[in-house]
């Protein structure tokens, strides 16, 4: 529908418009029509993600109370108590402050693990796609074995060996995500390698490593961006899960998963306490997933009508 409208307005420009619109105005209008046609998931997901990142950044400069400030007079305050907008925990720590610090920890762990897992995984995927045809099958199966490893168990084993903590959680997420990134990279990379322009690059005298880096990688870039967003969502969930299982980040550092764990024992006394960390996790993971979905629609030329890519 929007598409039809577009062509109509382009086909019959009134003479007023053509004489009065400056090039800058025209560009503005084109930008607006572009933005209007972007999928709503992109806006909703992007908004949630932006909010998450914003909160995490603000926590570096300002929180309602200093981190871990106790307020024993106001323990287990319900939401709406003056000074404790979302309530306080059993030591009187402000929930807003805790949530902001938890967002910071989530962001830190997911950024580090996604960047590392993506670069290592994509490199492995590209190398497998570029390897000899006889090697590709076995190597891909090897990655499948990696995919089959249960991530939480890996994390528990790591925690048992090296002790719990943020680093352990990050490493666990990375080892979990590397096979995912590799597996998703292999197929599209092989598709690109079969294309004519790759053969053309060989015909100029390029070697395979260069072709993989400069021809294949940019052309699977959109896919990797989408994958990043999905991996972010997964990393946030796993970080929370590990913190909940107390193999992730340790007190006194705040984390949404740890807040869930701590409020669990107060389920009867203060059920409202576990609502906010829970909803934070859900909204953030949902945000990244929606963003990934929106990005896919925009970046995939076969799905997109908006034609940004």
């Amino acid at each position: 529908m929007t598409h039809e409208f577009e062509t109509k307005s382009r086909a019959m420009p009134s003479s007023m418009e053509t004489t009065q619109a400056t090039p800058a105005q025209k560009n503005d209008r084109r930008l607006w029509s572009h933005l209007r046609r972007l999928p709503p998931t992109l806006y909703i997901g992007g908004g949630l993600v932006f909010l998450f990142v914003l909160v995490a950044f603000i926590s570096f400069f300002w929180t309602p109370y200093p981190p871990n400030a106790l307020n024993l007079q106001n323990r287990l305050a319900p939401p709406g108590t003056p000074g404790f907008f979302l309530g306080s925990d059993r030591l009187g720590r402000d929930m807003v402050t805790e949530l902001m610090l938890g967002a910071r920890n989530s962001l830190y762990v997911s950024v580090v693990s996604t960047i590392v897992a993506m670069s290592v995984g994509a490199t492995i995927g590209l190398s497998i796609a570029g390897s000899k045809r006889s090697l590709q099958g076995p190597l891909t199966r090897l990655v499948d074995v990696g995919l089959a490893l249960p991530g939480i168990l890996t994390a528990l084993v790591l925690a048992a060996k090296f002790g719990p903590g943020n680093t352990t959680a990050t490493i666990a997420i990375i080892t979990w995500q590397i096979p995912v990134a590799a597996r998703v990279t292999i197929g599209p990379a092989r598709q690109i390698l079969a294309l004519d322009y790759v053969e053309a690059a060989y015909s100029y005298g390029r070697k395979k490593s260069y072709v993989l880096k400069r021809h294949v990688l940019p052309n699977i870039g959109p896919l990797l961006i989408v994958l990043c967003s999905v991996m972010f969502a997964a990393a946030i969930l796993i970080e929370a899960a590990l913190a909940y299982l107390t193999v992730g980040v340790q007190p006194p550092t705040s984390s949404w998963g740890r807040l869930l764990n701590e409020t669990q024992s107060l389920l009867e006394a203060a059920p409202y306490l576990m609502f906010f960390p829970g909803i934070s996790i859900v909204l953030t993971a949902l945000g990244f997933n929606l963003l990934g979905d929106g990005l896919r629609t925009v970046l995939d030329p076969q799905q997109s009508r908006s034609g940004l890519a």
Partner: protein, 323 residues
């Protein structure tokens, strides 16, 4: 300059190409003609070392006295793009959609020469001018999708000749283009080959196009060169039955625009299609589609015969003149 002797290419144990003898002189233009599936593309890819993984190749392909088939991958990469340029069939697919024109054309220069920075840019602008693209400087930062098919093919040609190769292989360079653009590209290839004294190995399924572009022609069927010689000689006096059938299947142009002479006339066709790899008949590979089979054809593969300046592989050659 290019001497092919006993070249055999096989995939999974099945021989798809066997070329006993094919020469290309320096500065001359050779056309390779055949139907789809006859092995044209495989042959030129074998010469350029672009065959996919898992193909076995034997014999010798001598280029400037060096046997290309004995080179390692690394050594071959030095020849490819440098001494041998390659133009592909579909320009829209053979240019990377995410890479600017300037960078794609400069690939071979950056690999094979010591030029750097602005010297490369100058050379690229010069090349784009040589392939007769208007306003080359503004093209540098464009992406392939912003150009028309003909312009894309010119860019592809510029990229292929960027390192001043001695041999340009063009694999059906005009098939994906519309007819008016085809002629421009063909003329461009001819003039480039003349100006640069560059040999051209031109692949096509259209004998008319080959007659327009090339000095000599090799007709390929089932991976074998069935007839070769000077274009005029082969076209006016085809000896192999396949060549004469190909010529008869060409409608040509009616004389004096007398289209009525065309109407109602049945165009000759070659019955059947090229058999799948490994399904060729014994003896002469064209036997099952030939109207003039003899007993000899089915038992023994024909040997190379030289007659009136061209070579052919046929037991029962046409006695001359298109039938």
């Amino acid at each position: 300059m290019l001497e092919i002797r006993d070249l055999r290419v096989s995939i999974e144990g099945r021989e798809i190409i066997h070329i006993e003898h094919l020469d290309l002189q320096s500065g001359s233009r050779l056309g390779l003609v055949g139907e789809s599936g006859s092995g044209k593309t495989m042959t030129v890819k074998a010469i350029a070392g672009l065959l996919p993984d898992g193909t076995k190749i034997s014999g010798s392909v001598k280029f400037d006295g060096k046997d290309l088939l004995t080179l390692s991958d690394r050594e071959f990469a030095k020849v490819r793009g440098n001494k041998i340029g390659f133009v592909f069939q579909d320009p829209a697919r053979s240019l990377n959609p995410m890479m600017r024109i300037g960078k794609q054309v400069s690939e071979a220069i950056r690999i094979h020469s010591d030029l750097k920075g602005s010297a490369v840019t100058e050379k690229v602008i010069d090349l784009l001018g040589q392939v007769q693209l208007p306003d080359p400087a503004s093209l540098l930062r464009r992406y392939p999708h912003q150009l028309s098919g003909g312009q894309q093919q010119r860019v592809m040609i510029a990229a292929a000749i960027a390192a001043d190769p001695d041999l340009l292989i063009a694999d059906e360079p005009t098939t994906a283009l519309d007819v008016t653009v085809q002629e421009e590209i063909l003329r461009l290839l001819i003039s480039l080959s003349e100006k640069r004294n560059m040999s051209l190995l031109f692949v096509s399924h259209d004998l008319g196009v080959i007659r327009f572009v090339c000095d000599s022609v090799a007709v390929i069927y089932g991976g074998n060169i069935v007839e070769s010689g000077l274009v005029e000689e082969v076209v006016t006096n085809p000896l192999h039955r396949y060549t004469s059938a190909l010529l008869a299947a060409n409608p040509g142009m009616p004389k004096d625009n007398n289209f009525s002479a065309f109407m109602g006339k049945r165009l000759q066709t070659i019955t059947g299609s090229v058999p799948a790899v490994g399904k060729f008949p014994s003896g002469c590979r064209f036997r099952n589609r030939c109207q003039f089979v003899t007993d000899e054809c089915s038992s023994v593969p024909p040997a190379v015969t030289t007659e009136s300046d061209h070579q052919y592989l046929c037991w029962n050659p046409s006695s001359g003149g298109a039938s």
